[in-house]
Symmetry: C2
Amino acid sequence: MSLGEFELIERFFRQLGARRADVVLGVGDDAAVVAIPPGKSLVAAVDTLVEGIHFPRNSLPRSIGHRALAVNLSDIAAMGAKPTWALLALTMPTADESWLAEFAAGLGDLARRHDVAVIGGDTTSGPLTVSVTILGLADNGAYLARSGGAPGDRVFVSGAVGEAAAGLAILESRLSGGSAAARELLQRRFLYPEPQLELGARLNGIASAAIDISDGTAGDIEKLARASGCGARIDVTRLPLSQPLLECAGPEAARDFALSGGDDYELCFTVPQERVPQLSARVPADRWPYREVGVLTAGGELEFFAGQTIVQAVRPGYDHFGH
Amino acid sequence: MSLGEFELIERFFRQLGARRADVVLGVGDDAAVVAIPPGKSLVAAVDTLVEGIHFPRNSLPRSIGHRALAVNLSDIAAMGAKPTWALLALTMPTADESWLAEFAAGLGDLARRHDVAVIGGDTTSGPLTVSVTILGLADNGAYLARSGGAPGDRVFVSGAVGEAAAGLAILESRLSGGSAAARELLQRRFLYPEPQLELGARLNGIASAAIDISDGTAGDIEKLARASGCGARIDVTRLPLSQPLLECAGPEAARDFALSGGDDYELCFTVPQERVPQLSARVPADRWPYREVGVLTAGGELEFFAGQTIVQAVRPGYDHFGH
């Protein structure tokens, strides 16, 4: 079916996500207007998902909508901030109503769960590309950056890593081991990643630096270390690998997925030695599991080792242009 | 040439646009952080340009960069607000260094002229698509919306309309009349539109409603009238048509370009009768030319007439899905 741009935006995007009292003027005018409470800084990020690059062709529209927002929420989580508003730029080849309904449901459900209002939208025709700008708030001066780490700070990784990359491999028929239940779980981790917003908020004030794991654990640790002017010594045997991942991929491929695969949207963060006790108190590991995987070092070298052996990280990051 | 995403963003987008003291954390972290002064509301809009839809294939990269920001700045102008920060989502098939340099120059020059800092960027591979989110500030409660018009309010159009659409027609070899100088001027109006930011700021407090003319004068007047719950009676013979446009297109096609062509990024605004004297005082017409073209009416009918004849607006708006 074919609808005009205006009508499309009206129907699916006018009331998408949470209703927030601070939205003075929402979708439908030249621009949106929102109220900013005193003492707050604005936090902003943009991420784009392109069909065939960031998700397989003919992906479920609900998953595309979910992921387009989740990857942005994850950036806000890594800042220790609170997400508030989003703007959506959607380019799609044809205006299919049922596709749009599912896409809007995937994005809208996640937005409502995190109290995010969609305040702007632009829909254009062209190859399927979803770009979301996320806006959030942090107390003035109170945010986590990649650059705050120092030599000696402990490096932690939350949750489990490698699952989403293995899930994508299953979706693309590159991986077929394990039980149906395990494969299903890994695929869901790719299709419906959960941004670690509450963890990020709790780390704010404790962690010295943070980054979300979007491009692969090795590459993202490298980015954090570089931004902090440090090296790092990482024990890859300490990376948190889940049972379903080990079951489907085996221990060796599981480690590769964890190191080099992306899309987990867990957090990597550093904590000065003296604040590690605070970390345990403020972030109960039964609710937000995390594991110490290494330490930031002086100098620029990044060493990923297993036992006494230095392991080369096969791919030090996900390169969208090399993909 | 091929560069990694990270290096690309580093080289061209880290310091793009103005340097603003309120940027606490710019491009390069998970998100940017900016300071918001007290008493201000945030204004936000997003617009996407797709190659082959919003600009011809193989357009000058400098023009693409300029236009990607200009269309967004125009939304801020229509709100009577001040632009401050932008986020750029750029999807391109290959990472060509000279293309990127020109694109960044086009976007960066316009950004600096309007004191806008680019605080976020995401570069991905895929079909050429440029999505810019513009952020700006307005005094709390002091912004122009489309919805503020009332029956009896006078309808004005700034500058001259139809030039950009004629310029695009010349670029696409659909129009060939007029002198080389006139054709050059019209093409420039398409390639390098100027957002009417100072005009918008001056209208703030005087105009009852405003919209930028991006989709065609007829369609955009219709949107403003609808949002205001009004109809309108517009004298198409009053539309401001420039000499170069009349020279290249002749009077009839010139009027069609003005009514139905888009991309002028002039402002259409309404002013209550009793504030028209203020308008003349605050917006000197020698500096910001504008012309009264009609009046908002009670009821929903939009009549575009010439003399005593009702003229059907051939295309009541630019439909990106019908294009």
